[in-house]
């Protein structure tokens, strides 16, 4: 009897273990390098935060698994006049708390994204007014003809007006300044996953939204999101099965993970372009031994730097093959990218030496270089390799590699002579790169990240025209022309697009987007 009893017990135990494993089989645990700083979709314009909150909140116009525009909360949109767009809203959509989605929520969300405390203003800058034309129709009027409006608002997420008002969260707050409100910890969107529990920097749990208006492609019931900052710890967590997905995978561990049989590394090109910039504005460089003049004002010096960089070795050794050398400031996949123009000037040490000699620097010169060491893939190692390349043509680089917390404030003050930066156009359109990186610096936000103040009035003129040109062929032609002028000027030194590297357990499948977003809806567990 006793024996039978224990048998029965063990059967029950086995059964319950089996059930447990079925339940946990539909949970995916994600270990990421960092945490989303807040759950508020308008408080920070940063890829990671928008990627995480994008599972809970949705825009009017979304992007599909190939980054093409797709209807989300709007079922259709059309331009009714050069400056007016009409959006038909999806009917029957409910927020996670059960309230219905209407045009009022759209008006509220756009006002919130454009208002005080919002970091998303760059996406709403060109909007003059959002008008309600019935419960499920809105019209957006832009300040000038704006053909890429649907692209630009694809990251403006819609919140519930009623919920925000009930929770005193009608304005986004900036967590970087230590301010938080209810929307930083709780979320009420329309998306395929709802936020269940939020512990900042510890764990965030998401649960599948059973009442989602659309189809959720994957089968995952629950997502556990954990930040794991240390590279080695994150890899160890994946290998030991503590997490199912990690992002990013350190390049040196790719082979080890692929060889383990427990997990694989998904690699793909990212939309971010890594490049070097040079101070071309000051009459004398701040960090250089050349006094009284600025060598970077001479195109020959800039071109010499360009041709001295052995990009293929950097790609092969520093990036272990996980990068795509580029001649353009935008990546394939960005509107306006033209493969025919993507040819780098050849790597040629002798030519570089000659250019430097022609410019009057036959014996080279010294220049200070600023570089982050924890922002982009192997960023400080890229800078070290560039410093070694430049040493070969006689330029001595005093490299200062530091953490992003001190690096970005410094270069954003333009307190640099030579720097490394990465840029993903948030609108997936070349105009964004032209406007932020390549046009002359003005006080209206133009050239905001053109930290070396490269300036060519012809590029400015084209950038303005591109903004309002509605004819696609003409527009592409102008983008091409602007890129050509910039490349001929050697305005920046483009390096490469780094590759995304996600570590994924063998039983998990998901879709990797080139903008490094990780939508939970495409995740499945076998």
């Amino acid at each position: 009897m006793k024996l039978i009893n224990s048998c029965a017990l063990s059967i029950i135990a086995t059964a319950s273990v089996a059930m447990l494993s079925v339940a946990s089989a539909q949970t995916v645990r994600i270990g990421n390098q960092g945490d989303a700083l807040s759950m508020d979709p308008h408080s920070l314009n940063e890829s990671l935060q928008l990627s995480v909150t994008g599972n809970v909140y949705e825009p009017l116009v979304g992007r599909d698994s190939k980054l093409q525009l797709t209807p989300a909360l709007a079922t259709g949109w059309k331009q009714t006049s050069p400056t007016v767009w009409r959006f038909e809203l999806r009917k029957g959509v409910k927020f996670h708390d059960g309230t219905a989605f209407t045009a009022d929520d759209v008006l509220f969300s756009f006002a919130r994204a454009a208002g005080d405390g919002s970091d998303m203003k760059s996406y709403t800058n060109d909007i003059k007014e959002v008008r309600k034309q019935g419960d499920h129709v809105v019209e957006i009027e832009t300040k000038s003809p704006f053909p890429i409006l649907p692209d630009v608002i694809s990251l403006v997420y819609i919140m519930s007006k009623q919920w925000a008002e009930a929770n005193q969260a009608t304005r986004p707050v900036d967590r970087r300044k230590g301010v938080e409100n209810v929307a930083s910890f709780k979320a009420n969107g329309t998306g395929p996953y709802r936020l269940r529990e939020r512990q900042p920097n510890v764990k965030t749990t998401f649960q599948r939204n059973g009442n989602y208006w659309g189809k959720i492609e994957g089968n995952v019931a629950e997502i556990e999101y954990t930040p794991i900052g240390n590279d080695a710890t994150r890899v160890a967590a994946l290998m030991s099965g503590q997490v199912d997905v990690i992002e990013p995978v350190p390049l040196q561990d790719v082979a080890r993970i692929n060889g383990s049989g427990k997990a694989k590394v998904m690699q793909g090109p990212e939309l971010r372009t890594i490049f070097l910039g040079m101070d071309q504005k000051r009459d004398e460089l701040v960090y250089s031994n050349v006094k009284g003049k600025n060598p970077f004002k001479d195109k020959r010096v800039r071109q010499a730097f360009y041709q001295a960089i052995d990009i293929n070795s950097i790609q092969r050794v520093v990036m272990r093959g996980a990068s795509t050398p580029t001649a353009l400031m935008v990546a394939p996949g960005i509107t306006g990218f033209d493969a025919a123009m993507n040819t780098r000037l050849p790597y040629d040490v002798e030519a570089a030496k000659k250019l430097l000699a022609d410019a009057g620097y036959a014996n080279g010169f010294e220049v200070g270089m600023n570089c982050p060491n924890d922002r982009y893939v192997n960023d400080s190692r890229i800078c070290e390799a560039v410093a070694a390349n430049l040493a070969r043509v006689g330029v001595k680089v005093n490299l200062q590699a530091e953490t992003k917390g001190t690096y970005f404030p410094k270069i954003l003050r333009r307190d640099t002579s030579f720097y490394l930066l990465g840029w993903t156009p948030g609108t997936y359109d070349s105009h964004n790169a032209l406007n932020a990186l390549m046009r002359c610096v003005d006080d209206k936000g133009g050239g905001q990240f053109n930290l070396g103040s490269y300036c060519n009035p012809k590029v400015d003129e084209l950038t303005n025209k591109i903004q309002s040109e509605t004819d696609k062929a003409k527009r592409d032609g102008m983008i091409k022309e602007a890129f050509k002028i910039h490349a001929d000027d050697v305005g920046h030194l483009p390096l490469h697009q780094q590759a995304l590297a996600w570590g994924v357990a063998s039983n998990v499948s998901l879709v990797q987007l080139a903008d490094n977003f990780m939508p939970f809806r495409y995740m499945s567990v076998k």
Partner: protein, 303 residues
């Protein structure tokens, strides 16, 4: 020179040295390290600090005896194609220089303040010793980090040499406390002895008494302490560089080399971090053993 060496070997100290195999072994190890470091430009097969000679194609080669190794890079190469063996020699040079410089600086400061406190006494003594208490209540590496951080904030785009200056300063400013304490104690003992009183009676000035009479008699313990502190200073330097606030990445010290290699430890490229680590252990161990021996040899009770 030779005669003095012979004389030293015949002295008590020399005898104790000859009869201690540990001391001789440690001295030999230390000598090899110092020799390689001092003569690195002539001994090392490559110059790892000359960026122009680095070849990315040579990056991450394993040691020569492993498959894929290259005989001209005996201990392999790091992620930028630097020869590890040469980088070790040059790195040791930086580590030793920073270690010695910071110990000399902290000995100067510590001995001077300790002498003053012990000899003058009174409120000056109380003030200096409370200052020591405060310094001692913080972990040394924390204080060093603070000073290094402040130094970097004051001179954000300093030249490499200034970075080393800040490094030396931050280590020595935490190290002087121990000398001050030791010297103060010995000085208080010496102060009341007859020879000091005799000097005072004959009208010798306080400064001269301190310098000519007390100082030579309190230097014994300082010598022992300084030897051991060299090892501590080298490790502090390595720690600061490991944490990324020390030597600049283009002229790596041992700590920088270990940090760089640390990223690759799990990926099978063990040589980038293991060899600098072993080197650090060897230097610290040999210096510590020498210090231990010196302490025993100078202690009359153990003779």
């Amino acid at each position: 020179m030779y005669k003095r060496l012979v004389k030293w070997f015949d002295s008590d100290l020399g005898h104790s040295f000859k009869s201690s195999p540990v001391a001789m072994g440690a001295a030999l190890l230390a000598f090899v390290c110092v020799f390689c470091a001092v003569f690195a430009p002539w001994v090392a097969p490559h110059n790892p600090f000359d960026l122009a000679t680095l070849e990315l194609g040579n990056a991450r080669l394993p040691p020569a005896w492993q498959a894929g190794g290259n005989p001209s890079f005996f201990l392999g190469t790091d992620d930028q194609g630097r020869d590890i063996l040469s980088a070790l020699m040059y790195g040791t040079r930086i580590s030793l220089a920073v270690g010695l410089a910071s110990v000399i600086l902290s000995v100067l400061v510590g001995v001077a303040l300790g002498l003053l406190a012990g000899f003058v006494g009174g409120w000056l003594d109380a003030f200096l010793m409370r200052l020591c208490d405060v310094m001692l209540s913080f972990p040394a590496i924390l204080v060093a980090l603070l000073i290094a951080g402040v130094g970097r904030a004051l001179f954000p785009n300093a030249h490499d040499s200034l970075a080393f200056g800040v490094l030396i300063l931050s280590i020595s400013l935490t190290g002087w406390v121990q000398y001050a304490r030791t010297v103060r104690g010995s000085t208080m003992v010496e102060r009341s002895k007859e020879y000091v009183q005799a000097a005072r009676v004959t009208g010798v000035s306080s400064a001269r008494i301190m310098r000519r009479h007390v100082l030579p008699n309190v230097l014994g313990p300082v010598l022992v302490l300084a030897t051991i502190q060299v090892a501590t200073a080298i490790i502090s330097e390595a720690t600061l560089s490991f944490l990324g606030v020390g030597a600049p990445p283009t002229s790596p010290s041992l700590g920088t080399l270990i940090r760089v290699g640390n990223d690759y430890l799990f990926s099978g490229e063990w040589w980038i971090t293991i060899f600098p680590g072993v080197m650090l252990v060897v230097i610290a161990l040999s210096v510590n053993l020498l210090g231990d021996w010196l302490r025993d040899a100078l202690n009359p009770r153990l003779r």
